[in-house]
Point group: C2
Chain length 316, copies 2
Amino acid sequence: MTSEQQLGAIRAAPGIIRVHGHRGARGILPENSLEGFAFTFSADVRVVELDLLVTADHIPVITHNPQLMSASTRGADGKWLCEDGPLISECTFAELQTFDIGGLRPGSEYGQRYPDQVFLSGIRIPGFDSLCQLIRDDDLDDVWLNIEIKSDPRFPANTPEIPEYVADILKPIFASKLEDRVILQSFDWRVLHECERQAPQISRSYLSYIPKPNAPLAVNIYEGSPWMDGLSLEEHRNSLPRVVAHAGGQVWSPFFEDLTAEDMQMARNEGLVVNVWTVNERADIEHMIDLGVDGIITDYPGRVQRCLLEHGLSWK
Amino acid sequence: MTSEQQLGAIRAAPGIIRVHGHRGARGILPENSLEGFAFTFSADVRVVELDLLVTADHIPVITHNPQLMSASTRGADGKWLCEDGPLISECTFAELQTFDIGGLRPGSEYGQRYPDQVFLSGIRIPGFDSLCQLIRDDDLDDVWLNIEIKSDPRFPANTPEIPEYVADILKPIFASKLEDRVILQSFDWRVLHECERQAPQISRSYLSYIPKPNAPLAVNIYEGSPWMDGLSLEEHRNSLPRVVAHAGGQVWSPFFEDLTAEDMQMARNEGLVVNVWTVNERADIEHMIDLGVDGIITDYPGRVQRCLLEHGLSWK
């Protein structure tokens, strides 16, 4: 049901590779904040990537981890949380608004990963509806949202039952009439299949992370994986783009180190859009340009813009 | 005539070292642009550093080089200038507005120095009065401008006669009643002495750059230097802070590598504020924190904020 015309805005074109600002622009401003998204738009980036969960009162909020992260969250007393928690799914929206997500804790391992991120105070976890309304602005009528729906088959308590969860998330998209300006992505492909049932007209992106030694994140691609909702690599000649195409996806989003030239070619054959995450180092950005991806998801949008220009390319 | 109360806002205080955003935040956004200044304020930085020259029609504009810089300037045809020029002093304000300063030229040496700077289009050289008006906004009533008046005794054609030049620059400051929220700095101390004559109530900052092998910038400190307006290091026991204090300066702004613990102590004895330029690397930032400077001028304000916090300090 997704039209090719619609996908054209996120597909690579001659001379164009799209830049997606990861969680806004995590390298520069607090992640998943309206302030970060506004900066990213003002930097002329036309796609922002973001993460959704829903609160106990079923309000979709823009945040990445199932629990409040101690390294980036201060309480009303101005102090960072001693440990991660509580669960987003157990807090009301009003309760979440008492926390400040503007600053990374000095000395934290997470903070050290983003040494240039400015330090703000009084920054709140945004309701997803706020961002949807923001991009109705005339100046932003060409921007897209690449929305990751967080879900983990191992921890069902972190999210509502999938049909209800997806319905909660679709509500602001429908209300703001953004169906043709969003991508719904998830590592949990059960969620994507529910999205297809409830909103077949919205583009779906299959996130993938294949097994590797000492993988720092949860691997979702293997035979019998609950993340893959019954789909099998082996049945598709061990080709991820074939699986995604077979599943009806329009977009495939592999971890950038997992992408091969062969898979890229297969994705092209299958008509898939390929967006890679999360690409921050210059050599890696250049390798993705060489592979000819459609979109580069990055914490440093300026760095990717500048690399593209040096290769005679642009992002819009 | 400058009051100590006034200087308190830019002096270090227990737990506080001030962050000055260099040309806004050159590491992140186009330098000396209103967009860059707005970002820097939104990043909670309370002092921005900027450069002034005046146009042929005597309008102060925020720009660094005496000529339009080819690496950062596109003409109305969208192409970068083939070579530096024309002189700012030979262009009218209206003529300057036809140039776009939003993007660094791919492959340029200057561009490679700031690989994360976002690429914008349609960005204009700002009139100084625009920034003065901007910071009259209620949200910005605590911000300061650290204003470098560009002047080079070797190239008098780049600027009007000094009395007229200073009068041009003071006009928007008086009009916006910002006398107690600005610092006037210059490598050309003749300019500072004219500032003292015309506006003794405004803080003056003596910029210094001492001789070194293969100095990439113009050295202004040596016996008989025309930059020093007749002042002599030798007459002040070769102590720059003594010279600055003797000259009636409130602020001394050395190149950060030129600052010694001994001079820092002397500056304290003389009651000077010490602002160092331009400090971008973590080890250098930490060294300046150890020396106990008042202000750190940086292209990466977030990086300095985060270093300060890791040392138990803040910037306001």
